[in-house]
């Protein structure tokens, strides 16, 4: 998934850089848990007060939104989908999908090409469509909007596997041939290829049902018709909450004349209240009566966190917690229980471009794997609390079998003493031994060819990034690789990195985060050759690029390693077989290609105010499960619907 505001993870690195120096003396293990321990049953009532200084990008349009904040709100509160998550951590099944609008898990044909979903009956939308039942054509409507050429959807590529979707998206067809609704409570999805994670794709908020327009039943996109870029301001909820004032929506008017949701004020406030229509939702207890989010793009993170500590607000929707706040929560007895640290499925890494010398040589890449001092990087970035060292590509939470075993937990193909790389004699020896085998190195293990000098490298320039860049620069100098380091802001970095013709040999700042809890999302756009694109290329290493692609982007080296076969092998699988397959793909990447040096996995660090009880971590949203939060005292004044 793209990080808020800065594509691909730089913002996460910058934000996590604000969790910079956490004194190791404070204790590296973290003091929070994945949920608050309270013996008192959660009470219903009250209004959860949140704050954020980051507005969403597309005004809550469910087909366009592509950020964690919006995913969290959609999944917990506003939208139900055929499948969904239980809103808990991975250790409690938070990585699995469960039937939500569906009555049970879908049935899949033996060839894996036909998925049949049966839907619950008697579920209705929020006002003003409280009398409208949620039916299977409503799901079709959502998928049509995802593929609509006039709607800039966030992730349509996940639905290319549906037969006819590509033709519909290209404007060659008026409907999606692979979707059929033999009755109002059945949806049959026909695929072009077996896709083991289709259940996850139907848990994405973009697939949430769109109701028909009672005033215009023939409108293909229902109430979203005419709102190509701003349906969020007219969205009808299907979850336990709805935007305040939802009853004021008036679809009898033309789209441009329709009033917008009063509870959704861009840049100011988002107000959610209970959806009176919502019933039969065992996955979302929805203890609080409402959720009020104050949006202050100009507010500083420090100020917002102080408000949490003071109890003025209950939580800040943010990327990471400031070092000073973290220290305070770790060391203050009555605050410790309001600090929560959970693994989030993200990573940071160094990307080596396989098409540029000296990184076209696998021995050079392996030497780099050994040389980088990951322990020093971890110290620079704030210690083990927020930055557990990564020894392979895919976060462990995504490579967990049904029995809870993390397949690659102890897998470390480039282990060096204390993970200190070339800063130890043992690590340096290993790195040099690899370099000595490369065509750019000499027998002593130093990279001596001219390609080893002046290697263009991009790194960030904010927070701890300069120190981080400097550490890597020193590490690689020990094996003879001299970096020409350019430190830029995130936007400038990605202007270069996303363009494959830039031919950047080394990138120090990329990061990645799951879109949904399946390792597919860690390979599909980053390591799969067919997805290398000229406009927004996240495969910085050019893994799997064909000779034609390499020529097109101006590379003199045209043959690079590929793992397309490994990825394609895993795509149709399900269950533990799928997890094991992705684990094998991870190993293949690390050992046979070594295109990236994983530095850290990420943890989500969260603080809550004093009245919050029953904190539960939502693995999918990498944040707090707002439908499970309860407040001390329960009742307080609730915003009116």
């Amino acid at each position: 998934m793209k990080r808020p505001r800065f594509v691909g993870g730089v913002r996460l690195l910058a934000a996590a850089a604000v969790v910079s120096i956490v004194a190791v003396a404070c204790g590296g293990g973290g003091s929070g848990t994945s949920s608050s321990s309270s013996s008192v049953p959660p009470k219903k009532g009250g209004t959860l007060q949140l704050a954020t200084n980051q507005d969403v990008f597309t005004h809550w349009d469910p087909q366009q939104e592509y950020f964690q904040e919006s995913f969290a709100f959609f999944q917990c509160c506003l939208l139900r989908t055929l499948m969904t998550y239980n809103g808990k951590p991975a250790s409690q099944g938070g990585n699995q999908v469960y039937p939500d609008l569906a009555t049970q898990n879908p049935t899949v044909s033996s060839d894996g090409l036909t998925w049949t979903f049966h839907m619950k009956s008697g579920l209705h939308y929020s006002p003003p469509l409280q009398s409208v039942e949620i039916t299977s054509p409503d799901i079709v409507r959502a998928l049509m909007r995802i593929g609509d050429p006039n709607v800039p959807s966030g992730y349509p590529f996940y639905y290319d596997v549906i037969q006819g979707f590509s033709d519909y998206s290209a404007g060659k067809a008026k409907t999606i041939s692979g979707l059929s609704t033999p009755d109002p409570h059945t949806l049959i999805v026909t695929l072009t290829q077996p896709t083991g994670d289709l259940g996850y794709r139907f848990a994405m908020p973009a697939t949430a049902p769109i109701p028909p327009n009672p005033s215009d039943p023939s409108a293909p996109l229902g109430v979203a018709q005419g709102h190509d870029t701003n349906y969020g301001s007219y969205m009808v909820s299907s979850g336990p909450y709805m935007w305040a004032g939802s009853g004021d929506l008036d679809f009898s008017k033309t789209p441009s004349a329709q009033p917008t949701l009063p509870g959704l004020q861009a840049g100011k406030e988002w107000t959610m209240v209970r959806n009176p229509s919502d019933t039969q939702d065992p996955l979302r207890p929805a203890y609080v009566d409402g959720i009020d989010t104050s949006v202050s793009p100009s507010a500083s993170q420090a100020v917002l966190e102080k408000e949490v500590t003071a109890g003025t607000i209950d939580n800040v929707i943010e990327n990471g917690v400031l070092p000073a706040t973290l220290r305070q929560y770790q060391t203050t007895p009555n605050l410790k229980s309001h600090l929560f640290i959970n693994p989030s499925a993200g990573n940071y890494y160094v990307a080596m471009n396989l098409g540029t010398p000296p990184f076209d040589d696998i021995h050079v890449r392996k030497a780099v794997e050994y040389a980088i001092d990951k322990a020093a990087i971890q110290r620079i970035q704030g210690g083990p609390i927020a930055w557990p060292i990564a020894t392979h590509w895919v976060p462990n939470s995504l490579l967990t079998l049904s029995n809870g075993v993390q397949v690659l937990k102890n897998y470390d193909p480039y282990k060096t003493p204390s993970e200190q790389g070339a800063d130890t004699s043992g690590g340096l020896q290993l790195a040099k031994a690899e370099m000595a085998q490369s065509k750019y190195g000499d027998s002593s293990g130093m990279c001596t060819a001219s390609a080893c000098k002046n290697v263009l490298t991009l790194g960030g320039n904010t927070g701890t990034q300069p120190a981080f860049n400097s550490e890597i620069q020193q590490n690689l100098a020990k094996i003879g690789i001299q970096l020409n380091l350019k430190q830029l802001n995130g936007s400038a970095i990605y202007a270069k990195l996303l363009d494959p013709s830039s031919q950047i040999p080394l990138a120090l700042s990329p990061g990645w985060l799951q879109d949904y809890p399946d390792a597919f999302t860690f390979f599909y756009l980053t390591m799969y050759g067919p997805n290398i694109s000229a406009q927004a290329n996240y495969n910085e290493s050019m893994v799997g690029a064909t000779p034609a692609m390499m020529k097109k982007f101006g590379y003199s080296i045209t043959s690079v390693p590929s793992m397309d076969a490994q990825i394609q092998k895993c795509m149709p699988l399900t269950g533990d077989a799928r997890v094991n397959c992705w684990a094998d793909a991870d190993k293949y990447l690390m050992e046979q290609i070594a295109a990236v040096v994983p530095l850290n996995f990420t943890n989500t660090v969260n603080i809550t105010g004093p009245r919050v009880t029953n904190y539960v971590y939502n693995e999918f949203a990498s944040g707090m499960s707002m439908d499970k939060i309860a407040l001390n005292g329960g009742t307080s004044s609730s915003p009116s619907g």
Partner: protein, 345 residues
């Protein structure tokens, strides 16, 4: 008596038979010139951004793995598929200070948070205005009296001390001064409130809680030092003028000589500087707002620059330039009013 040969027909001391007409023409000319300045500033800003190697905003706003069609759609929605000169024209129309034109939300639409730039500016301006007004009052209250006393007691220990302090004040970088004040008065002595304004808190409440005190002092110290030196220098110069000697010769008390005759002339340049300084601050005191976490225009400008949010940068730049242009005009008009030797030409 005939006309002297060679004397220009339009003497600077000639008065027009209709002074109002003179002023009117002057104002119109200056207004048009000011508008031209805004156009040049906007054009320069636009060219810089077109040339900067920033990320395509369409990619930022698109999901991952956008198709070329999707990117084209977003670029079209943002107006980026139009010729460069057409894009500039749309932004340039936002310079017209008229409802429906000025910072048109359809064009000045933040690429970072998709909020109209005008909305952000309107929300943030009161904070910058509060910061500016408070600091201005403070530095005038500090700088002018110090400058007067220094000039009157020239060469004394008080004068020397004041000028040394002024030198320190002028030399101290404002970010350093701000951080020192914050450390001493908030972190060490716990006298000042924490920096920043809590989300949703009204501005008046923030003012009453003292959030602006340290930022006012920080801004005021630097400017007060400068103004005290300026007032001292001007007053010393003015006090050596012939008309001051004449006033003294007439038996007017020294106090009256200084305050009624000397100060008027000495403060005239101060008016000029004051107008420009205030206008500059109204565009956003970037450093002060950043250190003290005040969500004003300066912080907005900085954040917009970091995020390559061109519409926001353009909007803030235009607003800042607008204040400078207006201040220049006001100062020139007031200056002519204050100094009878100056005429509108």
């Amino acid at each position: 008596m005939g006309r002297l040969e060679g004397r220009p027909t339009h003497e600077p001391f000639q008065e027009s038979s209709e002074p109002g007409e003179h002023v009117g023409r002057y104002l119109i000319r200056r207004t048009l010139f000011g508008f031209l300045v805004l156009v040049v500033v906007s054009l320069f800003t636009f060219i810089v951004f077109v040339k900067l190697p920033t990320q395509d905003p369409a990619i930022r706003l698109a999901g991952k793995h956008p198709s070329p069609q999707e990117l084209a759609l977003i670029r079209h929605n943002l107006g980026l598929d139009r010729p460069v000169w057409v894009q500039y024209w749309h932004f340039a129309r936002g310079l017209i200070p008229w409802p429906g034109f000025f910072l048109d939300p359809r064009v000045y639409y933040s690429w970072y948070n998709t909020i109209p730039v005008r909305t952000e500016i309107v929300q943030r301006f009161p904070i910058t205005l509060t910061l500016t007004i408070g600091a201005t009052i403070l530095w005038l209250l500090m700088g002018i009296p110090i400058g007067i006393v220094s000039a009157i007691k020239r060469g004394s220990a008080m004068d020397r001390s004041a000028m040394v302090l002024a030198l320190i004040g002028v030399s101290a970088p404002i970010f350093w001064l701000s951080l020192v004040l914050l450390y001493v008065f908030h972190f060490a002595l716990h006298i000042a409130p924490p920096p920043g304004i809590p989300a949703g808190e009204p501005l008046w409440k923030a003012i009453m809680s003292g959030v602006f005190v340290l930022p006012w002092i920080s801004l005021a110290v630097t400017n007060a030092a400068f103004y005290s030196r300026m007032v001292r220098g001007n007053l010393l110069e003015t006090m050596s003028e012939d008309y001051i000697r004449t006033a003294r010769a007439k038996g007017i008390t020294e106090r009256r000589v200084i305050y009624k005759h000397g100060l008027r002339g000495a403060l005239t340049p101060v008016v000029t500087m004051l107008g420009l300084d205030v206008a500059f601050l109204l565009g956003g005191a970037i450093i002060t707002e950043s250190v003290f976490q005040l969500p004003g225009l300066g912080q907005y400008a900085l954040n917009s620059l970091y995020s390559d949010d061109f519409p926001a940068v353009m909007g803030v730049t235009i607003v800042g330039a607008f204040f400078i242009v207006v201040a220049n005009l006001v100062v020139d008009v007031v200056y002519a009013f204050l100094d009878p030797r100056v005429r509108y030409t």
